[in-house]
């Protein structure tokens, strides 16, 4: 699944570690989600959307 996490992080000048701390997960987990190697659960996707103050659809896309 494609995502906009890197862009959203860059806009806020957050490192992966910063985002990980906000989400209460490890930096490796953020990296795995960001690189599309791991698709988060719905609760974590909602958490991500809240952290970036946006919607899940604007972060994740199942379109190639």
């Amino acid at each position: 699944m494609k995502n906009q996490l890197r862009v959203l992080r860059a806009q806020r000048e957050w490192s992966q570690a910063d985002l990980a701390e906000r989400l209460g997960i490890s930096r490796q987990s953020v990296n795995a989600i960001e690189t599309g190697k791991y698709d988060p659960s719905l609760p974590l996707a909602f958490k991500l959307a809240r952290v970036f103050d946006t919607t899940i659809e604007s972060i994740f896309s199942d379109q190639p």
Partner: protein, 134 residues
């Protein structure tokens, strides 16, 4: 590289694991020491012999507790994958070894070695699974 903080679940796991392993060492040393000296019989002998297995069984529960307590779902999924590989490889290896034993092609494998074997397989699988996410 920033130092990774341990999650509360990992801290609990480490504390519980080392407590269980300390008890295992004490119980094992106690059983090995007591058997030849006191020659226990009947129920007492069974209880003494099974004593070192109890912390090992506790470790299985401790790993299960960690899986339920870990809030980081990605880390949880990595561990579950490693455990499944560990279980699969242990079952495959011990089944193959068993048939080799039946046909006298391998020495007897004591069953108490199955758990350490599982730990080796699961540990190796944990490393490989994590490497795939680098």
């Amino acid at each position: 590289m920033p130092k990774q903080k341990l999650t509360p679940a990992v801290r609990n796991y480490i504390l519980r694991f080392f407590t269980a392993m300390t008890l295992y060492a004490l119980f094992l040393i106690g059983a090995v020491w007591a058997f030849p000296r006191y020659h226990p019989a009947g129920l007492l002998a069974y209880l003494l012999a099974i004593l070192p297995a109890i912390p090992i069984m506790a470790v299985i529960g401790i790993v299960a507790l960690y899986v339920t307590e870990e809030q980081d779902e990605f880390q949880r999924s990595l561990l579950v994958r490693a455990l499944l590989w560990g279980i699969g490889l242990t079952l495959a290896a011990t089944t193959a070894w068993g048939f080799l034993e039946v046909f006298s092609l391998a020495p007897h494998l004591d069953l108490y070695l199955v758990f350490p074997l599982f730990c080796v397989f699961a540990g190796a699988a944990n490393g490989v699974v994590r490497l795939t996410y680098r």
